[in-house]
């Protein structure tokens, strides 16, 4: 039932350029057919999802959102809250991808509706492994709402 030929659209909200680069490299290495879009904070993420402004007028609806927690302007917690309160967006799964190891952040994320909490590894090999595992679950295993 999955549409294998269409690229899997991921929105990555990440303020750290080096980390965003690592995610991109890891997805390339995984050979998963992924269309990765990157925004730098929570406010941009919401603009992208709501297709606000000229820049995001043609933005695709992502199949999955990877969300950093600590970002300027609008952080991951606030962004996650807004997504899950938005009738048009709440069925998009959001996975937290962060350096925070704080238990309070883990609990808060799941309470707000996160569909996973992944702590960023330090080295590129581990990064590739986690991206593989993420892809195995969200792209190869689970069924997601079809794009309308």
């Amino acid at each position: 039932m999955k549409t294998e030929s269409q690229p899997f659209v991921i929105l990555l909200a990440e303020d750290e350029p080096a980390d965003a680069h690592l995610v991109r490299v890891a997805f390339s290495a995984s050979r998963l057919l992924v269309d990765l879009h990157h925004v730098v904070d929570g406010r941009e993420a919401l603009e992208f999802l709501r297709r606000q402004g000229a820049r995001f007028a043609d933005a695709l609806r992502p199949n999955l959102i990877l969300l950093d927690l600590n970002m300027p302007r609008l952080d991951g917690r606030e962004c996650l809250t807004a997504i899950k309160q938005d009738e048009a967006l709440r069925d998009i799964p959001v996975v937290i991808l962060t350096t925070s190891e704080v238990e309070r952040d883990v609990v808060a994320s799941y309470n707000l509706g996160a569909a996973g909490y992944v702590t960023k590894p330090m080295d590129i090999q581990q990064f590739i492994t986690i991206i593989h595992q993420l892809g195995d679950y969200w792209i190869n295993l689970v069924r997601l709402p079809q794009p309308t």
């Binding site: 039932m1 709440r90 069925d91 998009i92 799964p93 996975v95 190891e101 238990e103 883990v106 609990v107 799941y110 309470n111 509706g113 996160a114 569909a115 996973g116 909490y117 992944v118 702590t119 986690i130 595992q133 993420l134 195995d136 679950y137 190869n140 295993l141 689970v142 069924r143 997601l144 709402p145 079809q146």
Partner: protein, 148 residues
């Protein structure tokens, strides 16, 4: 740091055959689990709330695997009930079902499911599906600590 612990999983499934198959699949993939099985949604809520009342610290499951087609309270109603309870909402719920209806997929994510797995009929495919599911939830993501 992830504390090493045996994940506790609540399986809500009315087919005893499927329950046994799940146990086998998890064991085959090398996941050590404490698997608790209940036969329908009412039992699931009973199990979850009794645990909550008896002691704050003896632990809820780390993960709930939920069938949709069950007698009595449906899987979707059970999911809604879990996500409406303040002390249960934090537990990720993955739908594992034979239903391939798009309406069920969308409804499950809207209600807060952290994944929707269509049960493969083929045994090997089922084993592989459970391996990917286990890898994501028991190896990759960080789950809330059971005792805080």
């Amino acid at each position: 740091m992830k504390a090493p612990r045996i994940p506790r999983v609540l399986l809500v499934e009315d087919e005893p055959g499927d329950t046994r198959l799940m146990q086998l699949a998890m064991k085959n993939s090398g996941f050590q689990l404490e698997l608790h099985c209940v036969g329908d949604g009412h039992e699931a809520i009973e199990y979850l709330t009794r645990l909550g009342q008896m002691s704050q610290n003896t632990a809820h499951p780390d993960l709930i695997l939920l069938d949709l087609k069950m007698p009595g309270q449906s899987g979707l109603e059970t999911l809604r009930a879990i996500k409406q309870m303040d002390n249960l909402r934090v537990i990720p719920v993955v739908v594992v079902t034979t239903s391939g209806l798009e309406a069920d997929v969308v409804a499950a994510y809207r209600l807060g499911a952290a994944g929707y797995v269509a049960k493969p009929a083929d045994l090997n495919e089922f084993m592989e599906a459970m391996r990917l599911l286990g890898t994501y939830w028991f190896r990759l993501v960080r789950l809330p600590d059971r005792t805080e």
